[in-house]
């Protein structure tokens, strides 16, 4: 299904980079000439607390902002979003549109039979990716898990190009970035994982590409067709 607007909800935990992921994705879409808006939603910041972000990509100007109640894609960054209800909606897939896609970062299946049935009734496809493992393998740090979530949604929907993602990553991490204290601390932490900034960018991009390929392959194999119209 080709949509005029693709609504992506990212449910993660504080510190996982869900906010950064939505921003990078929107920056990439904007670079591709599409219309995009991204915004986060979280409580007073703390690690491991629910943190959501939203990215809307479309072919005409987007006014809608705030929490994304009716998404086409939901990405779960951490198993606790499901197992401990660390989500702003219960169940975590509440509001998902028919023919949508759920991406879950987990080594093991997490959905109950009831959840599986409900998603099936809505023709929602579920893609499990061992995102944290991919991040550890490719980038050598689990802090790059958010890159696998970016790669997944891009691979399944082709909503942004890899060239644009590379540019967006460069824009986000290539220069000094001022945000909240928590974000600044995490930025410092990830920079320390790599000897050089170029290495950080390279490894993160490689993580994006690896997950993009995995997700692309899955979507092709399972005939999952969800895309946003060309700009």
């Amino acid at each position: 299904m080709i949509k005029r607007r693709l609504n992506i909800r990212m449910s993660g935990l504080g510190g996982q980079g869900a906010v950064t992921a939505a921003h990078v994705l929107a920056m990439a879409a904007s670079r591709d000439g599409k219309f995009a808006i991204s915004n986060p939603f979280f409580g007073a910041e703390k690690r491991m607390a629910p943190a959501e972000s939203y990215c809307r990509i479309g072919v005409s100007r987007i006014y809608d902002r705030g929490e994304l109640v009716f998404p086409d894609v939901i990405e779960v960054f951490h198993p606790q979003v499901i197992t401990m209800g660390k989500s702003y909606t219960m169940p975590f897939y509440s509001g998902i549109k028919e023919n949508g896609v759920v991406v879950i970062n987990s080594d093991v299946p997490l959905l109950s039979d009831e959840d599986v049935q409900r998603l099936k009734d809505l023709n929602v496809a579920v893609f499990y990716i061992k995102g944290t493992q991919v991040a550890l393998e490719v980038a050598g740090t689990e802090l790059s898990t958010n890159m696998t979530m970016i790669g997944s949604v891009a691979g399944i929907t082709k909503c942004v190009s890899l060239e644009a993602l590379e540019g967006a990553l460069q824009e986000r991490f290539g220069k000094k970035f001022v945000a909240s204290g928590g974000t600044a601390t995490l930025d410092e932490a990830i920079k320390k994982k790599f000897a050089k900034k170029e290495m950080l960018l390279k490894k993160n991009l490689e993580t994006v590409v690896r997950s993009y390929e995995m997700a692309s392959e899955w979507a092709e194999k399972n005939n999952v067709e969800l895309a946003v119209a060309a700009a």
């Binding site: 929107a26 920056m27 904007s30 915004n39 939603f41 705030g66 929490e67 009716f70 169940p91």
Partner: protein
């Protein structure tokens, strides 16, 4: 304007002082994809600001921190952190009394804590600009957007504008100084937006060139004596005003309060010119109008598109300024409307109350939908509410896919 003579010269950071009208309307713009906080920084970069005083409170902290970066880059005369929002707003007053162009940002409980200062600013005719990134003010705590705090600002004597998008924010920060520093206005401006929805949202904003800036503030254009060596601060609060209980004192208080509100009225003509009207109307002939301010306008625009798919035509009235209140404009814009829908991000519906008090046949006003405490307002909910109000069967939104 005395400062016009400075046009073409360079300021302390090497920017060219530019005619503000030309800078805002004729200079070439370049697009950026920034968060609202980054956009505030870019506006202040070009505002030729003397002093910025900060205190951290979400969701304005990022903007305040980014302006600290601007200070480090040499674009702000002075920058420091106050002890609390109350201290910040008092310190802003001190800086403005001293003839500085002052900028500050606050949000939610911070706005409430500092409240005592706002009528004082207005009464002292200090053209301070305060960004209000609205958030919940009640207990239980919420850092998410809620516009209740704006209602508390409406009767302070400040100008109160409500931006819809980061683009509004960028333009209005710069234009705001031009309006509030006019000698016949010379009042503080509370430039409000819905926190997170504007501050933390990345969107395309067209910026004016970074090497152009506004002319500096000229404190001698103030309608009250500017504080200098001839006129020390103690004379601003001299005893007859405050301490004495006599005819002169009462007359002074009464006439001065009227003068402050007359100045709010006088800002009208400047705001109309700079903001291209106090309201903006899309499809004025529609029988159903969504009248709102801030992010609720954006959500209304999406609802308009959804309803159009069902063959229901809806117009939009965006209220840009709450003080001055666009009374005549709203009366005219809603003249032929049968249904006036006022969606708001607060529990009390203060905007609907203002509109009801303004127009004839106020029962045309439907106050809602309302979300509060940081809830989001999906366009689907506005569309469903309108259908329900019109007696059209709407799809149930309960369950959200479950």
């Amino acid at each position: 304007m005395a400062t016009q003579s400075l046009v073409g010269t360079k300021n302390r950071s090497g920017q060219v002082v530019t005619d503000p009208w030309k800078m805002m309307h004729e200079a070439e713009r370049s697009p950026c994809f920034f968060t609202g906080s980054e956009v505030i920084k870019e506006a202040i970069r070009r505002a030729n600001c003397d002093v910025m005083i900060a205190y951290p409170i979400t969701p304005q902290s990022e903007a305040a921190a980014l302006i600290g970066e601007l200070f480090a880059e040499g674009f702000i005369g002075d920058y420091f952190r106050g002890e609390s929002e109350f201290a910040v707003m008092s310190q802003c007053a001190g800086a403005a009394f001293g003839g500085a162009r002052v900028f500050t940002t606050t949000a939610g409980p911070g706005t409430m804590r500092a409240m005592e200062n706002f009528p004082m600013w207005a009464g002292a005719r200090l053209p301070i600009q305060m960004i209000v990134t609205c958030r919940g003010i009640n207990s239980p705590l919420s850092i998410q957007p809620d516009t209740l705090e704006i209602s508390y600002l409406l009767n302070t004597g400040m100008l109160v504008w409500h931006a819809e998008t980061a683009q509004d924010f960028y333009d209005w920060i710069l234009k705001g100084y031009m309006v509030s520093e006019e000698p016949d206005v010379h009042l503080p401006l509370a430039l409000c937006c819905d926190g997170f929805f504007v501050t933390h949202t990345k969107d395309v904003v067209n910026l004016t060139p970074a090497d152009m800036c506004l002319p500096p503030y000229d404190p001698y254009r103030s309608p009250v004596p500017c504080m200098d060596m001839e006129c020390p601060p103690v004379r601003m609060m001299r005893d007859p005003f405050v301490m004495k209980s006599n005819y002169i004192s009462y007359a002074t208080h009464a006439s001065w309060q009227q003068e402050v509100w007359a100045a709010v009225e006088r800002s009208r003509k400047h705001a109309i010119r700079w903001l291209d009207g106090l309201i903006e109307v899309d499809r004025p002939d529609a029988e159903i109008l969504i009248v709102s301010s801030g992010t609720a306008v954006s959500q209304g625009r999406e609802a308009q598109a959804l309803l159009e798919e069902d063959g229901i035509e809806v117009g939009i009235v965006k209220v840009k300024t709450l003080r001055p209140w666009p009374e005549e404009e709203i009366r005219q814009a809603t003249k032929n409307a049968k249904h006036i829908i006022v969606p708001e991000f607060n529990v009390t519906g203060w905007l609907a109350k203002e509109i009801r008090a303004t127009i004839p046949d106020a029962d045309r006003v439907y106050a809602g939908p309302h979300v509060c405490g940081g809830m989001t307002m999906p366009p689907e909910v506005i569309a469903a509410d309108i259908k329900k109000h019109l007696g059209i069967k709407a799809e149930s939104l309960a369950g959200r896919g479950s």
